[in-house]
């Protein structure tokens, strides 16, 4: 497979401008002749649908939820970065670019990241004009805060609900186009296959989740904005419905999968409380601005937190990283929490937790001061755990949060299948091996509002697409494949529930391919995942029929794909013989336990090619060049 990244040359600050000029345009009168399918209605999908519809394209947008407003972008709490430098504290496009490349541990494309930093300015303007109620200063200007270890205040926010407000902005723009007849919205509709004709993406096969009807939709281009695959771990901060089905089935049609082993673990989540646990809840990273993280010095210390004297506490982040302290990046904070718990010093039931203590901050700012900053988070914590964080420290533990990996895309966001685009978290994106806080919202909206609407025109103007209709044998075939798989799941009638398989897969991957990985463990997982998959196809029990709302059936299809994808993730982790960002291979670490990159051998994007059922996937490499930000060992000491 040939990977053509189409990265323009020239000085980095001119590349996007020059590229936009070089892209072919579609005549306004001709735009209405083109049809585009957008799968997913989160920040990326909704913003892309609305923007393309405004340009005049005919858009069909699909989501599995009951309304596009439910997409999981809605749960993002902290904020969105933009290099506005409104705070006069030395921020610039170049600094946001630099921070993002470095934060990603030098595994992202410089050109893409620079473009993202440039566009960050337009995103804020667009969202303000849509009526997103960003936090304001008393003078009426936009407020900012610092976030995720950044040394400048560049994060815009709407209380602890920034994702919700940005998504509602994009959703409202989408509804405006629905009203105008330019977008057809199909909620409760799940994409189950991609239609590729003459090597080009020409449509999708969907299942109507209410009636079970299997249908095909044809168009001139297909856009996937279907989010990340974090739920492969079963327990994650993702929504229960988040899945990898659309991108995985596209992968099986020839779209290369980029860096699947890069999954981000968020350090501040509420720990697991029991077997029945269905998902994990994130507590905003902003809590680390005032909370101090510690564990007892003694192993197995079962005393309540307030009975452990100061000199028997280990504030391990402050001890190991005096200059960044509790504000080290997410990957570093997470790994250190795991390390102290592995030593037997974890707190709470099961010993998988560390304290996040606000006692000092309460002394300094008073209860009221803390309440003003974090009231909603403290309330949420108490609602879930029945413990009062004003009185005793919170218990936190890392959890799977975000997928940096995803479908490989070129500079135009097109996958290796012509006419198939991936945007937002669904692509392998601009975050390298580790995403910085408040950058996910920025990337989703950059792709949807400001990149895809330009680049898709270049494809449509030059692709010379033949007319196809639903009687085409490939379309018929795809429909019958989907129907067959659905029936097969319903006919097994084995002994185990879908959830029990999903939970077992998740536990296996968390143990062997989670915060720390090693060769032996990854090999164990690579053996066990296919066994589990075989058992699934023999012994899963899905009740009910296919021609009705059947949530277990929907879930079964998604878990079947996770059972295939999980194997690729482990393989990628095994083949990347270095540690970088969130990918920590225990064999490759510095003497003091930090990630040890191997730039000479692994400075590339791993783009995996599907080779057919039962055959080992093929690894293609896109080399990464760093002309502006020179790779260095990240140090937060």
């Amino acid at each position: 497979m040939e990977l053509r990244s189409k990265i323009p040359g020239g000085p980095i600050e001119k590349r996007w401008d020059q590229h936009r000029f070089d892209l072919k345009l579609v005549n306004p009168a001709n735009k209405r002749k083109y049809h585009v399918l957008v799968v997913g209605s989160g920040l990326a999908g909704a913003s892309a649908s609305a923007s393309m519809a405004e340009l005049g394209y005919n858009v069909k947008c699909f989501c599995f939820q009951d309304s596009p407003r439910r997409a999981h972008s809605i749960a993002a709490q902290g904020g969105i970065n933009a290099a506005k430098n409104y705070q006069n504290d030395g921020d610039s496009i170049y600094r946001l670019f630099y921070d993002t490349v470095k934060g990603g541990d030098f595994r992202a494309r410089e050109s893409n990241v620079y473009r993202l930093a440039q566009i960050s300015l337009n995103i804020i303007d667009q969202c303000v004009a849509q009526g997103v109620p960003f936090a304001r200063e008393y003078g009426g200007l936009l407020a900012n805060r610092s976030f995720g270890g950044a040394q400048v205040s560049r994060t815009f926010y709407a209380r602890g609900q920034t994702g919700q407000q940005l998504l509602l902005g994009a959703y409202q723009a989408l509804l405006r186009q629905v009203r105008a007849g330019q977008v057809t919205m199909l909620p409760r509709t799940e994409m189950l296959d991609l239609i590729v004709i003459d090597g080009k993406a020409r449509g999708i096969v969907t299942r109507n989740l209410i009636t079970g009807k299997i249908e095909s939709h044809l168009a001139d281009a297909v856009v996937l904005g279907t989010g990340g695959y974090g739920n492969v771990f079963y327990l994650s901060t993702n929504a229960k419905g988040s899945n990898c089905t659309a991108i995985w089935r596209a992968h099986k049609h020839g779209a290369a999968f980029g860096n699947p082993c890069f999954t981000q673990i968020h350090p501040t989540c509420i720990p697991v409380s029991g077997e029945y646990q269905s998902k994990l809840t994130l507590m905003s990273e902003s809590l680390r601005n005032d909370g101090r993280i510690w564990v007892p010095k003694k192993k197995g210390d079962a005393r309540p937190a307030n009975q452990i004297p100061e000199n028997e506490r280990d504030y391990y982040l402050e001890r190991k990283y005096p200059s960044f302290g509790n504000l080290v990046p997410r990957d570093v904070a997470s790994r250190n929490a795991k390390a102290v718990c592995d030593e037997g010093r974890g707190v709470g039931e099961g010993g998988l937790g560390v304290y996040l203590d606000f006692a000092d901050a309460i002394k300094r700012l008073g209860k009221q001061g803390i309440r003003e900053r974090y009231a909603n988070l403290f309330d949420m914590y108490e609602r879930i755990t029945a413990e009062n964080p004003y009185e005793s420290p919170m218990r936190i533990y890392p959890a799977i949060h975000y997928a940096m990996g995803g479908l490989w895309v070129d500079y135009n966001l097109m996958t290796t299948i012509p006419g198939l685009y991936a945007i937002g978290e669904a692509n392998f994106s601009d975050h390298g091996a580790n995403r910085l806080g408040a950058s996910a919202l920025m990337q989703g909206l950059a792709d949807g509002y400001f990149i895809l609407p330009y680049t898709i025109g270049d494809y449509l103007a030059t692709a010379k697409l033949e007319k196809v209709d639903s009687s085409h044998p490939i379309v018929r075939d795809a429909e019958s494949c989907v129907a067959k798989q659905t029936n097969r799941l319903l006919e097994i009638r084995g002994k185990r529930t879908v959830t029990s398989f999903h939970r077992e897969l998740g536990k296996l991957l968390w143990d062997e391919c989670g915060m720390a990985r090693n060769e032996a463990g990854l090999k164990r997982a690579l053996q066990r995942v296919p066994e589990l998959r075989d058992e699934f196809w023999q012994n899963v029990n899905v009740l009910g029929g296919g021609e009705e709302l059947n949530q277990a059936l929907e879930n079964a299809g998604r878990v079947a794909d996770f059972l295939e994808f999980g194997e690729l993730m482990c393989l990628d982790a095994l083949r990347r013989n270095e540690s970088c960002g969130c990918h920590f291979r225990e064999e490759y670490q510095t003497p003091d336990g930090e990630a040890l990159r191997d730039d000479a051998n692994f400075s590339y994007v791993a783009a995996w090619e599907y080779a057919g059922p039962g055959r080992s996937p093929i690894l293609n490499k896109e080399p990464l060049a760093f002309e502006y930000v020179h790779p260095s060992q990240r140090s937060y000491k």
Binding site: S67, P68, I74, D125, G131, G274, T499, L543, L549
Partner: protein
């Protein structure tokens, strides 16, 4: 903990539904309400019975997908909490719980506890937006927004569109939901150009969707998981009156 559950089971919109009794002996007080139902469903599947269908997604109280009545109260007994964030420790061992879907003509039942809330999307599509195409926005700091206004707009914008307000209302009115969006956009300077047209169009759509009329009872505010205040309805009514007097010729009647 042990619970006796009476759950509404209805196979499809065309089937007649009924309450079915389940004894649930495997409840941990730390479970969320939805996790309690997950465990029940796993047991039902093991017995060869179809699991109870209910809508849910983020389970963090922000997506607005989940929601049903527990003993006649939308989202159950804990204030300002959606069912995904409601934990079983708030119930007594041995409690008897009646679990039913939202009841409203505008929200037809699809299956068990799942209802069709697409009417909400259509109300917002009728005008719940600011018309600004991508690329045509001025710099974010060109238009100043007083902090007080921004905070009030944010209070209203916090609505998650779950539908509890409609389910709790004896008239099944959508006034709190509609008023919240009208307040959010109407309070901001960016929302002014379309302010009165917006309210006329949205209210027209509410009528088409067969929601009831608001009689200021306040049940909606009492159950709202995001604590949206009744004042949003007052703002909607004020803007509607003003819009009716000043802009009648422009009223778009839904369906035309």
């Amino acid at each position: 903990m042990k619970l006796t559950l009476h759950i509404w089971r209805q196979k499809s919109p065309n089937h007649v539904g009924r309450m079915v009794r389940y004894e649930h002996n495997n409840v941990n007080p730390h479970m969320s309400f939805l996790e309690m139902l997950d465990v029940l469903n796993e047991e039902l599947i093991a017995k060869g019975e179809e699991p109870v269908a209910f809508d849910h997604d983020c389970r963090e109280g922000i997506c607005g997908t989940c929601g049903f009545m527990i003993n006649g109260v939308a989202h159950g007994p804990q204030p300002a909490t959606s069912v995904c964030q409601l934990h079983m420790r708030h119930f007594k061992d041995g409690a008897v719980l009646y679990i039913e879907p939202w009841r409203a003509k505008a929200f037809p039942v699809i299956k068990d506890l799942v209802v069709d809330r697409s009417a909400f999307d259509r109300i917002l599509a009728a005008g719940g937006f600011i018309s600004v195409s991508t690329g045509s926005a001025p710099d974010g700091n060109v238009v100043l927004v007083p902090k007080r206004k921004a905070d009030l707009a944010m209070d209203a914008a916090a609505c998650i569109g779950c539908g509890a307000c409609v389910a709790a209302c004896p008239n099944a009115a959508a006034a709190l939901f509609t008023g919240a969006k009208i307040s959010h956009l109407g309070l901001l300077p960016q929302g002014q150009p379309e302010r009165y047209q917006r309210v006329m169009n949205m209210v027209a759509q509410v009528k088409v969707e067969m929601f009831g009329s608001c009689t200021n009872i306040g049940e909606c505010e009492a159950v709202c998981p995001k604590e949206i205040r009744l004042e949003v309805i007052a703002r909607m009514n004020r803007d509607y009156l003003f819009g009716s007097w000043t802009g009648r010729a422009e009223v778009v009647r839904a369906g035309e």
